[in-house]
């Protein structure tokens, strides 16, 4: 389209449609502005304020940001959140394997397996967390019982530092599988059968087909999942909260960023400082996602 013809076309279109496009967009836009843009803006404003517990605000300048730099809980929370996210991301390769097995032709009971893999997605997160807490119980838990069969005395999974983070991450990984398997299954069904036939004619075995046909053509789905899973991972809260419970000696060393946000906003009555933590989470997610979009050009194949 050349430069001299484009503007008239656009102008004519606007004239013909009037304000109708805006009217149709409004329901969505109002929601997005009211529940996404405005809260983000309000959080930015609040980060410069000091709050009293009943909502009164006074301007506090950069004080909340200074608190962030001197808060000894923050570095550990960033590390915990990053470790959790990294472990949950490991679920994606697992999901690729599971999804390709589930979509194999002629697999018996494939529906049944699909239901099994989808179960975590339809269970109440808190109920699931409580069940896992029992599974990981040091004295009566099934994990340590299994370990004892091979002569290993299991650790206190949910009450020892690092072990607790590992236990929460494993459950997080497990809970992230359903979405990944569904998206990857859809991606797999979108791969044309001819490609496999062609690969077979070229003499590729099952493994080679998987590596050279399946995985490259799945990369758009995998990339999408990586972005979504990482964002979810950085927002770790409810699983941690429900699995670790109160008076947990490992909690001070296992806090996530959102957990810190929660305690500052709702327990410490420090909404201003909580806003700064929220912005830190936003910044980390933003940078990490940007990085992913930069790197994806090197490994994601569209068609």
């Amino acid at each position: 389209m050349s430069h001299d013809t484009a503007p008239p076309i656009r102008r004519r279109r606007r004239g013909r449609d009037g304000y109708w496009p805006l009217v149709f967009l409004a329901p969505l836009m109002i929601g997005v502005v009211a529940f996404y843009f405005w809260p983000i803006l309000a959080t930015v404003l609040n980060s410069f304020a000091s709050f009293d517990p009943f909502g009164g605000r006074t301007f506090a300048g950069l004080e909340n940001y200074r608190t962030l730099l001197s808060d000894s809980f923050i570095p550990r929370a960033v590390l915990n959140t990053a470790v959790y996210t990294a472990i949950v991301l490991l679920g994606i390769p697992i999901a690729v394997g599971v999804a390709s097995l589930l979509t194999q032709k002629g697999l018996r009971f494939s529906r049944f397996y699909q239901v099994l893999f989808f179960l975590p997605a339809v269970s109440m997160p808190v109920a699931v967390a409580l069940v896992w807490r029992m599974i990981f119980n040091q004295e009566f838990g099934v994990v340590n019982w299994a370990l004892s069969l091979i002569g290993i005395e299991g650790p206190y999974w949910v009450t020892a530092p690092w072990w607790a983070l590992l236990a929460v991450s494993v459950v997080g990984l497990w809970a992230s599988l359903p979405l990944a398997v569904i998206i990857l299954s859809a991606g797999l069904q979108g791969i044309p059968g001819e490609l496999y036939e062609a690969a077979q004619l070229d003499g590729a075995g099952t493994l080679r087909q998987f590596r050279s046909v399946t995985v490259p053509l799945l990369t758009p789905s995998i990339f999408f999942l990586m972005v979504i899973t990482a964002i979810n991972g950085f927002q770790l809260f409810d699983l941690l909260f429900a699995m670790m419970g109160q008076s947990n000696p490992a909690m001070a060393d296992t806090q996530s960023l959102v957990y810190l946000f929660y305690s500052e906003a709702f327990r410490q009555h420090e909404q201003g400082y909580a806003s700064v933590i929220a912005l830190l989470i936003l910044a980390i997610i933003g940078v990490f996602t940007l990085l992913q979009f930069r790197v994806q050009k090197r490994w994601v194949h569209y068609d």
Binding site: A42, F54, G56, Q138, V158, I231, P249, F266, H269, Q271
Partner: protein, 426 residues
């Protein structure tokens, strides 16, 4: 599900930002005025957090109706876990219930921000009718802002059977720390093979750590509410006493008690001694080992010290119907209402001289121990933003007792962080 959560958090903040724009606009009339008369009509709301006490509260409301047939009281209850988050939102929006329950950790916050009605002028309410260390909890700048409802003190629950099996006689009077430790050790050594502990350890604040620090001669927060007592030598003594029992295998460690609560251990006959309050009576009367259970006065260290806490009934400073709310509030504080709540076994009534109703309602245990303790007990420690340092306790008590050899360092961190919270209070 994640986006919804982040959205809620952000929306919550935005909501407070919005609300702050409109809250506090009308000037509040702080005078109480005269209460409603017998024939006056009115309608008020009443909010509580304990479902188990709803029947007793309803009985009190019914009795109130006999005196004031034209005043309707609408009761609502919210789960304790979210009660104070809800109350804070109600207060922010200028929409507090007319009359509601409040507790020690939250009282000063609401009173100092002008959310509560000054009750100095409330007809029929005489603070002298309640234990003075309890009314002190609900006094702000010299004036009462809540009517004491009930009280809890701490004592030593024991399992007779387990003590006897370890060759220990049950306590009849207050034990010293050493006697408590020796008895715990005897049981843990004798019955440890059956997974039975002398005492079930834990990190309970009001029932365990506060009294011990006070018994060592220390304090939790000083009288001016500016200094934390957690790094004082006395507090370290108390922490070391608990840490020593864990180290020597007399009490279970904090990792164990985080998974197996002390309450459950004692209730199921897996611990012989359990320091806790009279609120346990309702649970323990249904314990599978209840015929072995008894209760003795609290242990003592270099000093004797117990902690008293109770719920209070407060009135919103912005209540649109203060005459009706006044009439209801002074009835809630009356001997009649206290007798009803005691006889229902709901809670140990605050009105001095009505405790026999509660003691008789739960004849399984000699609960008079708790009533006797009230005379010398110290007021539950609280400051303006208590909830903030309660969370720090929750986070750092278990670290202090984690046995990692850095007890003093963690206690110091708790004190430093708590001092930060106290310094931020206005």
């Amino acid at each position: 599900m994640i986006t919804r959560r982040s959205l809620l958090g952000a929306a919550g903040l935005a909501g407070t930002a919005l609300a702050s724009g409109c809250a506090g606009t009308p000037e509040v009339d702080r005078t109480l005025g005269r209460p409603a008369g017998r024939g006056d009509s009115g309608a008020i709301t009443f909010q509580i957090w304990d479902k188990a006490q709803e029947p007793a509260m309803q009985q009190i409301i019914d009795a109130f109706h006999e005196h004031y047939p034209n005043i309707s009281v609408t009761m609502s209850s919210a789960a304790f876990a979210s009660y104070f988050e809800r109350l804070r939102i109600q207060a922010t929006g200028g929409d507090l219930p007319d009359v509601f329950w409040i507790n020690g950790p939250n009282f000063e916050l609401y009173a100092s921000y002008g959310m509560l009605q000054d009750l100095s002028e409330l007809e029929g309410f005489d603070p002298a009718n309640y234990p003075s260390n309890l009314t002190e909890l609900y006094t702000h700048q010299g004036a009462p802002y809540a009517v004491p409802k009930d009280f809890d003190t701490i004592a030593l629950w024991y399992n007779r059977d387990l003590l006897h099996r370890a060759g220990i006689d049950e306590p009849t009077d207050s034990w010293s720390w050493q006697e408590y430790r020796d008895a715990s050790e005897a049981v843990s050594r004798a019955l440890g093979d059956e997974q039975i502990w002398g005492n079930p350890g834990g990190v309970a604040n009001q029932a365990y750590i506060y009294p011990l620090i006070m018994q060592a001669g220390g304090f939790i927060v000083d009288e001016d509410m500016t200094v934390s007592g957690y790094d004082s030598p006395e507090a370290i003594d108390a922490f070391s006493f608990l840490d020593g029992m864990i180290r020597d295998g007399i009490a279970p460690g904090v990792r164990y008690t985080a998974e197996n609560s002390p309450k459950d251990l004692f209730n199921s006959g897996r611990a012989a001694l359990y320091q806790s309050g009279n609120w346990e009576a309702a649970l323990l009367q249904n314990s599978p080992v209840r015929e072995h259970l008894g209760v003795a006065p609290l242990i003592h260290g270099p000093e004797e010290a117990n902690v008293i806490h109770g719920i209070g009934y407060a009135m919103s400073a912005r209540s649109p119907d203060k005459p009706a709310a006044s009439a209801f509030l002074s009835f809630l504080g009356s001997e009649e209402a206290n007798r009803i709540q005691g006889a229902a076994g709901a809670a140990n009534p605050a009105f001095v001289g009505t405790n026999d109703t509660y003691i008789e309602a739960l004849p399984e245990f000699s609960l008079d121990v708790f009533v006797d303790a009230a005379e010398t007990a110290r007021t539950y420690p609280a400051s303006q933003n208590t909830s903030a340092w309660l969370q720090l306790e929750e986070l750092l008590f278990p670290k202090i007792l984690s046995g990692d050899g850095q007890l003093e360092k963690h206690a110091h961190e708790l004190a430093t962080r708590m001092n930060g919270v106290l310094a931020d209070e206005s």
